[in-house]
Subunit: 335 residues, 2 copies
DNA sequence: AGAAAACTTGGGAACGTTCCCAAGAAAAAG
DNA sequence: CTTTTTCTTGGGAACGTTCCCAAGTTTTCT
């Protein structure tokens, strides 16, 4: 244990330079010397110290990742994608978890700089001025995931296309013949889900000259129960029932379906329902949910590729909108 | 940028020793010097280089984590637990993902040693002799998660109590009055799920003097479809139908329920079903599934605590069996 | 006031590598 | 056989810290 290059050199009867050359299989080493060194390394179980190496080289092959949580399918899939690309390119992941505490983000940004990571993948939540200051200070390539902050700060962003996907699945409902489409959403301080998806829904309807009565609109939180309550309120307050429901997430759709089932409405025969997100549940429930699939794994991969280029000096400008696709399953009926 | 302690020292008009003392807020620094240094650090945005520090100190505050995948709820929850404990104790996570490739495990074990991590949390799959050799060679504290290898190799293991939990939920069925309990399992090369859970089931029944006819036993794979097929086979081949089904995972239970529903058997009125694992789906399906909950997050936390002690020289011997509890929901009827 | 104690400070070696440079050895060219 | 070229080798500085030690300064005590 605690072997160093120097000791290997002594044992092999060569200089540490030669050992270094063997380790990094560089040129200018005779076969004889190489063999001998390899043998000694093998025998002693020597494993080089990459801390020393990193110090000398003044660079690491580590990438910092900042997430607000790990055990969500969205984030863990993205991290899986990140690890795919990064490992293939010889980088390691230094994973930090803010546990939804914004102040920790600042701390971890600095910590990752201390560790001299080559770049950072940052799952952003909110952006304060303190963030901007820190991002500036650490002077590292950063790619932001999940939030579009490309207008506030000059870092590449990788985001899902909330607006167009919402619009498309709303258009899909219209195309299936639906004219009365209710909306179950969330508060608008959430930009992606609360604003963009709603805007997509609204635009799809107006473009098709469809009006939305006030009583078709519900805004709650992200819980399943909120979907249940929303559906209840819409059903109870509508003079004429909608033929379809546009829920802004799969959980909300699930809650809506639960309520409908309880009241003996058939889905999709009486009322069609769509969600967004293609969560695990969406394919387990009956009827299987028609929804929008975002490819989180691929988002992680794309963000990684952008970061790698950034590190080598080729900076992506603006934001990358990820692809999506509608998964047609059983919860929508053509009328 | 690229500031060093030396440059800060020059700017502050002190020696680098003094700057070092300020950074590590050590004693023996006059207020005046401290103020001045802090001011210069603030102005220049200097962030210390922890690579140099680690090299000098000959230790890092990093923990290596080796996982076979990231985006499963089991693993991501465990990693969340790990990050909780580790961050609270000042450690960072170096995350490596083998993508189910056993050879990569060896590679990552060595890589983490190169990085001079303080310890490793290893989600093991299989253990080859090459593994043992490498584990030996790297000479680091390692805690193994998810597999009981405490008899083969002298590292602490943290595992779920497959045997007792299976036995308990089988006993629960008996207690609810069930006498004819069918079994849907998996092949026995999987020790935890294939062997231990089956053993728990078998023991619960024999202890209650219940016999199991051969046609009540089915062995497939881990897929939902396998649960479906298993249920089908059991129903079709039994002279007398079972009143309950013990499925070795939630997915299998789900498949079984799917088949029963299709054939218009009521769950749990006609046949009760239990699973194991408390997967996400288990609470979404109708009827909600009675199952066993393993606390993966806590397993990660406990493993982390054991590793931290190990690092400070206090090695846990043998294996830690995690707690579990039965979640009673709707899929079992008392008879 | 002088001695002792306590605090403050700076210099320099060390951590384990890499990589430049110079020198020695071998091979090729004349 | 000498000169040039190419290959191989080792020595040592450097990367940015920490930490020991010695020296200088201030405070406390008698």
């Amino acid at each position: 244990m605690g072997m160093t290059i120097k000791e290997i050199a002594k044992l092999a009867g060569v200089s540490k330079s030669t050992v270094s050359r063997v380790i990094n299989d560089a040129e200018h080493v005779s076969d004889k010397a190489r063999k001998k060194v390899q043998q000694v390394i093998e025998e002693t179980g020597y494993i080089p110290n990459s801390i020393a190496k990193d110090l000398k080289r003044n660079s690491t092959n580590s990438i910092g990742v900042i997430v607000p949580r790990i055990n969500t399918s969205t984030i863990s899939s993205a991290v899986e994608g990140i690890s795919n690309i990064m490992y293939d390119n010889g980088y390691n992941l230094l994973l930090t978890n803010t546990r939804l505490d914004i102040k920790e983000e600042i701390k971890y940004l600095e910590l990752l700089k201390e560790k001299r990571v080559s770049g950072i993948l940052f799952f952003a939540t909110e952006l304060t001025s303190k963030h901007l200051e820190t991002l500036n200070k650490i002077d590292l390539p950063v790619v932001v995931l999940g939030q579009d902050i490309s207008e506030i700060v000059d870092f590449p962003c990788v985001i899902h296309d909330d607006f167009n996907s919402a619009k498309d699945i709303a258009k899909y409902l219209v195309k299936q013949g639906h004219q009365r489409i209710a909306y179950i959403g969330v508060q608008e301080y959430d930009i992606a889900v609360g604003q963009l998806r709603k805007k997509g829904y609204a635009e799809a309807l107006t473009e098709n000259n469809l009006e939305v009565p006030e009583e078709y609109l519900y805004k709650g939180d992200f819980s399943i129960n909120s979907g249940y309550e929303g559906m209840k309120e819409i059903i109870e307050s509508s003079r004429q029932l909608p033929t379809a429901v546009f829920a802004v997430t799969d959980s909300l759709a699930l809650g809506a379906i639960k309520y409908l089932k309880e009241r003996d409405y058939q889905v999709p025969e009486d009322i069609s329902v769509v969600g967004i997100g293609n969560s695990d549940i969406s394919s387990w429930i009956t009827p299987e949910l028609t929804t929008v699939d975002y490819d989180h794994l691929k988002a992680g991969e794309e963000a990684s590729k952008i970061l790698l280029k950034y590190i080598t000096g080729d900076k992506f400008k603006g934001k990358l909108l990820m692809d999506y696709h509608i998964i047609e399953r059983e919860s929508v009926k053509k009328i």
